[in-house]
């Protein structure tokens, strides 16, 4: 049992892959390296898929691509509204990145979302996006006023929300990925054959995609809310 705990902890730990010898050594963690891999895969796939797109006589490949990206675009447009169109590419990026990150476990990498720092970073970007979109939409005065809405007594709660929203986003994603991983390890320890496949379908694929969906869906809802008058 101790060995299991140790291996589990080893799996959970995010190792420093190498150190950049600047400012007294900048550690580059495993999750960052896996993120680079994800970026390379996503970018190369996009470039390959986007080659020779046609307006007429589309092939099946283009049709699938258009359905996927157009579907995501329409979905986010429904959440953020017409004014939030310029934020849609980021939301699509976040969905693709988190989805890929959660599925990276299938290819033998440590999912970056299992590292708390990654989810913190994502949540920070999300809250920045939410607040900046509100600021740009309403102007500085309107933005400040929006904290006292719908009534002045909501002011402390609205201010708290700035911290609660990213915290809940970050912890939800991190906790789900971590929990799924630990549960999967336990199942593999108890029943090493056949059974883990069914659970892996749920915990590795379904849960991972659902968490990506929840993260970007909530972010887009908050952005839509910030854009509302």
């Amino acid at each position: 049992m101790d060995a299991f705990v140790e291996s589990l902890l080893e799996e959970l730990n995010c190792e420093v892959v190498f150190t950049i010898p600047l400012f007294g050594g900048i550690p580059v963690m495993e999750s960052v390296v896996v993120t680079w891999i994800i970026m390379a895969v996503l970018t190369l796939t996009s470039i390959i898929l986007v080659r020779n797109l046609k307006v007429e006589n589309v092939g099946r490949k283009q049709l699938m691509l258009e359905t996927a990206i157009g579907g995501l675009y329409d979905f986010f447009e429904g959440c953020v509204g017409h004014h939030g169109r310029k934020y849609i590419p980021y939301l699509i990026t976040a969905a693709l990145y988190i989805g890929m990150a959660n599925l990276m476990g299938l290819f033998g990498f440590k999912p970056p979302t299992k590292d708390l720092n990654v989810t913190i970073a994502l949540a920070l970007i999300s809250i920045m996006l939410i607040e900046i979109s509100g600021l740009r939409q309403k102007g500085f005065k309107g933005f400040l006023k929006s904290f006292a809405q719908p009534i002045a007594i909501m002011l402390p709660i609205n201010i708290l929300e700035i911290f609660i929203r990213p915290l809940s986003l970050c912890m939800r994603l991190f906790g789900n990925v971590l929990g799924a991983f630990v549960v999967m390890e336990l199942i593999k320890l108890l029943l090493p054959a056949v059974v883990p496949v069914a659970f892996s379908l749920y915990f590795d694929i379904f849960d991972g995609l659902i968490q990506a969906y929840v993260f970007v869906f909530l972010t887009s809802l908050f952005v839509g809310e910030a854009l509302e008058d």
Binding site: L9, L12, N13, C14, I26, P27, V28, M29, S31, V32, T35, W36, I38, M39, L42, T43, S46, I47, L49, V50, L53, K54, V55, E56, Q62, L65, E66, I69, G70, Y73, I88, P89, Y90, I92, T93, A94, L96, Y97, P112, K114, D115, L116, N117, V118, I120, A121, L122, L124, I125, L178
Partner: protein, 149 residues
């Protein structure tokens, strides 16, 4: 796992922003651009079709009015022609009648003239014959007289 590392957060933020830029450039913009282009194309074709239909309807109306006037005109022309033909017919008939009358008159006159001439000729011949007969009678009377003497 739970140790928060400042650099890790910074790296991830930079990574995500770079990925955002890459995805925007290589995935969202081209795909949405194509979709938009197609929508524009379809919209253009639809409006073109509408315009064409409107134009066709306009042309049809024009032709219909033209056809209507043409029909009326044709009717008028036929009517006019009929009237003209009728008047011409009357005219021709009249002319023919006067001509025939004239001819009849002339023929009658000629006949009368001929009769006159024939009568005169006959009269003159009769007169000649009578003269000759008288001469003959006279001659034979002379002969007889001479014989008897």
């Amino acid at each position: 796992m739970l140790n928060i590392s400042f650099w890790n957060i910074v790296f991830t933020i930079i990574n995500v922003l770079v990925l955002y830029w890459l995805m925007k450039k290589f995935l969202v913009k081209p795909v949405m651009g194509i979709i938009e282009k197609r929508e524009q194309l379809i919209q253009g074709q639809l409006s073109d079709a509408k315009k064409n239909q409107e134009h066709a309807l306009e042309l049809k109306e024009q032709y219909e009015t033209k056809m209507g006037t043409a029909e009326k005109e044709a009717e008028e022309i036929v009517l006019q022609a009929k009237e003209q033909a009728l008047s011409e017919k009357v005219l021709i008939m009249e002319e023919a009648k006067t001509e025939s009358d004239r001819l009849m008159e002339r023929a009658k006159k000629e006949i009368v003239g001929e009769q006159d001439r024939a009568r005169r000729e006959a009269e003159s011949q009769i007169a000649g014959l009578a003269l000759m007969a008288a001469r003959k009678i006279l001659k034979s009377g002379e002969i007889n007289d001479a014989n008897s003497q």
